[in-house]
Every structure is written in C-alpha cells, then in structure tokens.
Symmetry: C2
Subunit: 366 residues, 2 copies
C-alpha cells in the first residue's frame, strides 16, 4: 500500500471509529494548518504561524503479518484521536505544553498503550508508572517515577514542574505530593487489563522454565530484544504558534520488572528533552540504553554544536543506541518546524500532522 492510499484508508477508518465532534472540524479544516517555514533563515514567513505536532505510541517488534486488520484499526483510531487532540490545541493558539499533556492523557487512558490504564505489570503484579514533561522556553521540567495510584502521570509531572520547586519526585513521596495538589488517586485495580496480566503470567512461566533448565554461567546480558508487548511507551512533541517547543513521555516501563526499575521516560535528557534553541524529543525503547546514551539531549547537542540536520541527528543517536545493543525510536521536532522520526525496531506507532493539516499515522518501518 502506498503512503497516500494508506492515509486515505486511515482517514476512512478514523472517521468511522471516532467522534466526529472531536475530530471532524479539525480533520477537514480548509486552511492549511502550517506551511513549513525555516525560522532560522527568516527570509520567508508564512501567513499562518508554523505549528507542528507529533506523537508516538511505542517502538518494537510490530510486524504487519502478525497484526489483524481489526487490531490495526484500533491503533490507528486511537493514534488519530490522540494526535488531533493536541493538534487542535495548537491550531487554536494553545501552548505546546497543553497539547503534549492533553494528548498523552488520552493515550494514558487507552488500554492500547503501555502507559496509564494500559501499563504493564511489575514482577510483583503491581503497576509502576513513570513520566516526564519539559518546557523548551524556560527549560523547566517535571518528572515522576514509581507511581502506583496516579491515573495520569503526565499531569502529575506537569504539576511537579509548575507547582513545586523540584524536577523529579518518586514513589510514595510523589503520590503524597499528588494528594496535596488535589489529584485524585485511583486504586491499584484501575490499572488491571487482561492483556497485560496474561503477558505477565506468560513471562513468569517462561522465567520459571528457564530457571528449571541447567544453569549456564553466562554474564548477565541486557534484554536485546524485548517482546512486543513490553513496548508501548507514549510521547508527544509540539511546536506552538509562539515558537515554543514542549515534549513529554509516559510509560508503564517493562513487563515483569523488579527492584523499582526506572527507565528513560522520566529522565530529562534521556527519554524527554525540549529546548527552544534546538528541538523537542520523546523517546521509546530499551530504556537502559537510552539513559546511557543520554539520547534526547545528545540529539539536541548534535543540532546546536555540530550543525547536523534534525534527521541526521535523530539517525545518529538511534544508531549509537543500536551499537550499544539497544533498540527503540524517537520523535523530534526542531525550532524551524522540521520533523524526524527515527527507530531501529520493525515498527513504531507514530503520527504527525502534514502540511495540509491532515493526520498521518504510521506503524511499520516500510
């Protein structure tokens, strides 16, 4: 299927699947939502302020021949809705931070993604959620990790950024802060989904099987290829009409995780980064490798200090992660409205809005 056909098909699906109220007006806006203008050259200016919005719903082993049409439609519909929520905010002149937060909240509420409602289970059968958000204008940031009772971690990350003097809060302490801020805590059972629970049971069974087998004294190896269901981190990056960049990421981490493991999603500079001088980034994948590579900040530094194009920089950092042995991807938007999406996995759930104001949803590599 060509990209064009794919987009038309998606539009049909999307309109069938989602509320016309939420979507219609935005999808068929007659004004081109943006004309890409290179702010850095500054000689050409569009009449319309340049806005840009992109999202991801996780990178991983997503194979076309293993995806049913119905399942694919579910993802495309959810991604479209998520995308158009944030894009609608930007189009009305709203701040990038609002677009990022609202879109990620929607994805957190969907059981399809490994964040919020759809979070994977820890080894102990609990859910531990991590998230972060960053404001490229002020370089303010908020991050939370190890949450067990917060419906929308992205909103708590934003509260940490805006209502505390801190950047990062973890575990019970972060939830105590949430309570003080009037955030409603949900019972742990809110995060139960049959799919994720079954995935945990499969992994535990496999683990037990492995433990029964004669032990080889191999050095501990990092998980080079996570199963598909372990991915599903969500993220969004926005460039608003004021030229401000925002980025956010939210995740349930990895299934069957132990020991209060925290990945790259709540780490500023690794899973999330935004800076009006350069770009916004949200990453997804083998979190450990993304932390070690300081992926999101490295991308920004390659633009600022080495003068790489956004696409080049995105590819370079994903290649660095790959060389260390990690897989994953990222979405990024620079100050001039360029967009890049780079990943080393067979697929990444992703979407952005084209120059014509219409959503483009993609899943596979090819």
């Amino acid at each position: 299927m060509t990209k064009d056909k794919s987009r038309r098909k998606f539009l049909r699906d999307a309109l069938g699947g989602v509320s016309a109220v939420a979507l219609g007006a935005q999808l068929y806006s007659s004004v081109p939502a943006q004309n890409k203008v290179s702010r850095s050259h500054g000689t050409v200016r569009s009449a319309e302020p340049s806005i840009r919005f992109a999202i991801h719903g996780g990178a991983g082993t997503i194979l076309r021949n293993q995806m049913s049409a119905a399942r694919e439609k579910e993802y495309r519909d959810a991604l479209t809705q998520a995308l158009m929520i944030g894009y609608g905010i930007l189009k009305k002149g709203g701040p990038g931070l609002d677009a990022v937060e609202a879109t990620i909240r929607f994805m957190e509420d969907s059981p399809l993604f490994n964040a919020g409602k759809g979070a994977v289970f820890t080894s102990a059968g609990t859910n531990e959620l991590d998230s972060s958000i960053m404001d490229g204008k002020t370089l303010k940031a908020g991050a939370v990790a190890g949450l067990k009772h917060i419906k929308n971690p992205i909103s708590l990350a934003r509260l940490v950024m805006e209502k505390s003097k801190h950047v990062m809060m973890v575990s019970d302490g972060a939830e105590a802060f949430a309570k003080e801020q009037g955030v409603e805590l949900v019972p742990a059972s809110y995060f139960y989904t049959e799919d994720r629970w079954k995935a945990l049971q499969r992994e535990k069974a496999a683990e037990e099987e492995k433990n029964k087998a004669p032990k080889e004294k191999k050095p501990l190896k990092a998980h080079a290829s996570l199963p598909e269901h372990e991915y599903g981190t969500v993220g969004a990056v926005a460039l608003d009409q004021g030229g401000n960049i925002a980025a956010g990421t939210s995740t349930g981490g990895i299934s069957n995780k132990k020991w209060g493991r925290v990945g790259d999603s709540p780490i500023i500079g690794a899973g999330t980064y935004a800076n009006n001088r350069t770009c916004g980034v949200s990453a997804t994948g083998d979190g450990e490798y993304f932390i070690r590579s300081v992926v999101a900040h490295d991308l920004s530094a390659l633009l600022e200090y080495k003068g790489l194009s956004l696409k080049e920089a995105a590819d370079v950092v994903i290649e660095k992660v790959d060389k260390l042995g990690g897989k994953g991807g990222l979405i990024t938007i620079d100050k001039d409205g360029h967009l890049a999406m780079s990943f080393s996995t067979s697929g990444m759930y992703r979407g952005h809005v084209g120059a014509d104001g219409q959503p483009i949803i993609e899943i596979y590599k090819d």
Copy 2:
C-alpha cells in the same frame, strides 16, 4: 596564602591528622605520579602512564571567615584521605571505577559530607540517599535513588550497573535488590548525626515562622541560595592507566526535602557522566537546575561536538546553570588528562593530585 604555602600547610595538617599507614606511602612516593601527556596528539608519551584523579565534597556558601581552623582541618584531612585512597588504586594500575567507588565510600562513611553517614534529613526525619556511577569505556551506568537503609549507595549503584540489566532502581525496590545481592542493610538510625538533625529542626522552625507570617501570593520560586549545610554532595572522577574514565556521585539530597524529591546526583547525564571519547564529570549544587541543564552530558558534548577545551566547557555549563538561577559546581577530567573544576558558589570542597603526585586540597574560591 600562596598555593604552595597552602599545600605545605595542608600536608603538615594531613599528616598530623590521618593514619600514616593509609597515607604516608602514597603521599611521599618518589616517582612523579603522572606527566601530563596529550593523548590526542600522541607524539609525546610519558614513561609513566598518565593517571588523573579528582574529588569534590560539595559546593556552597563556604566562607573563610566563618570556618574555624579546627573545622577546616577536619575537612582537609578527610578530603586528603579520600583523595589518596582512589589515587593509590590508580597508581597501582587499578581501574578508575574502583578508585571512584573506594573514595566515595570513604566520604559516605564520613559525617562531614552530605552522603551516606552524614546525609541530611528529609522533612519526615528520614534520610533518603541517591547515587550513580558510570564507566566511560562501556558507557555502562548504575543509579539508585530514595535509599533509606544502604550504608554505601555508591556501591549499590555499581552493583546495579554490574549485576543487573538495569541502570536505575529506586526506593524499596532498590533495597530489595541490595538484599538479593547480599548487601547489608543498616537501620535508619545509622544515619543519625546531631548536626544534620539540628539543621532540620532549624529549618522546620523557620518554615513554621514563615507560615505564620501573612501570606504573600508570590509565584513559587526555586531555592536560589541553599544554606551551607544543604550542600555536601560528594563525587569523584578518575582516568586510569588504561585510559579509562570513570565518574561517580553520592548525596543525601537537600535538607527538609519532601515528596520523594530526587536531584541530579543519580541522573546519568546531569550529575554524573563518563565517556572515554570525551571526559568524566561529577556535579554538585542546586540539583533541579543541573537536571534541566543536563550539565554533565552537555559538558561532554561541548568537547566532542564544539571542540571547546575542558576548562571552557566546564565554565560554560556552570554559567548556563547560573543563568537559569542555580548555583553549584563540578569536577571533570578529560581523556587527555586535563582537569577542570568550575563552580559558581563561594566555595567547593575539592581535591586532586598534582603532577608531582602530591595532593592539592582547596575549599574557597580565592
């Protein structure tokens, strides 16, 4: 006092104050410990492998006229011992990671520094410790946060790096991992020190006083000037005989902290970073600003992508933090053996070993 006089004075003090067994042999080694060789040029090579070691014990408002001679001696003695532990390991050909870990363990065990034994108290009267370590050769890293019963967080960070597939573990989960690894957990009372406890009481009293005063509706402001006792994070950076760089950092965070606050010390790229291609960094100060500035990785990127000298890069990143409103400092060593120590506070407890193999301990800016 000139630097030379200061060093001689310090040597007298040091030898008076610390075990000759631990120190003597190393202090008066007749072989110059290192000749600085620019590896990047490669034409000149010293007969001695180039090693480098530096430490800090926190940056802050440290004023000469407020420091008693006895107190200053305590710090100088402890810094000297800490420094020579790691340097001794490097001199014998040991790995940088061992030097960093052993030195930081010593500082964690000292009540003088805000790490391990001397950690400040949280608002709840507990102690929550954070630490991280990174190996510049492999880019492997380990980080722990929110520990309440771990005597030496730096060693647990190293275990996370070497004995798990993860990079970061927090709170109870991290302590469960510690137990599995056979690390002895200490009772919370181990971390009680009178000084830190009194500091907490003073802050609580001040807080109460402030709450009684008529409330002004000011926007929340980050703590631009932490009192002296809130600093005291420790860190070390090593370049070993194999040309490998390692860095580590350990802290009790900020006194009277709430909500599971985590600062930059356990954040790879912010408080700690090491990369054999560039440099090793350990930072200390207003953690929130160091996270937002991704200080340690930014310094590395300025070397790698922009070609700044180590000193230039160190000054640039501290200036960036300053512009955001944060204070603090860092120590850094590059792959060619250059050393820089930059800080925006009135003092930073710090030490390194000179080209003649002798320790140089400094406290104040001037």
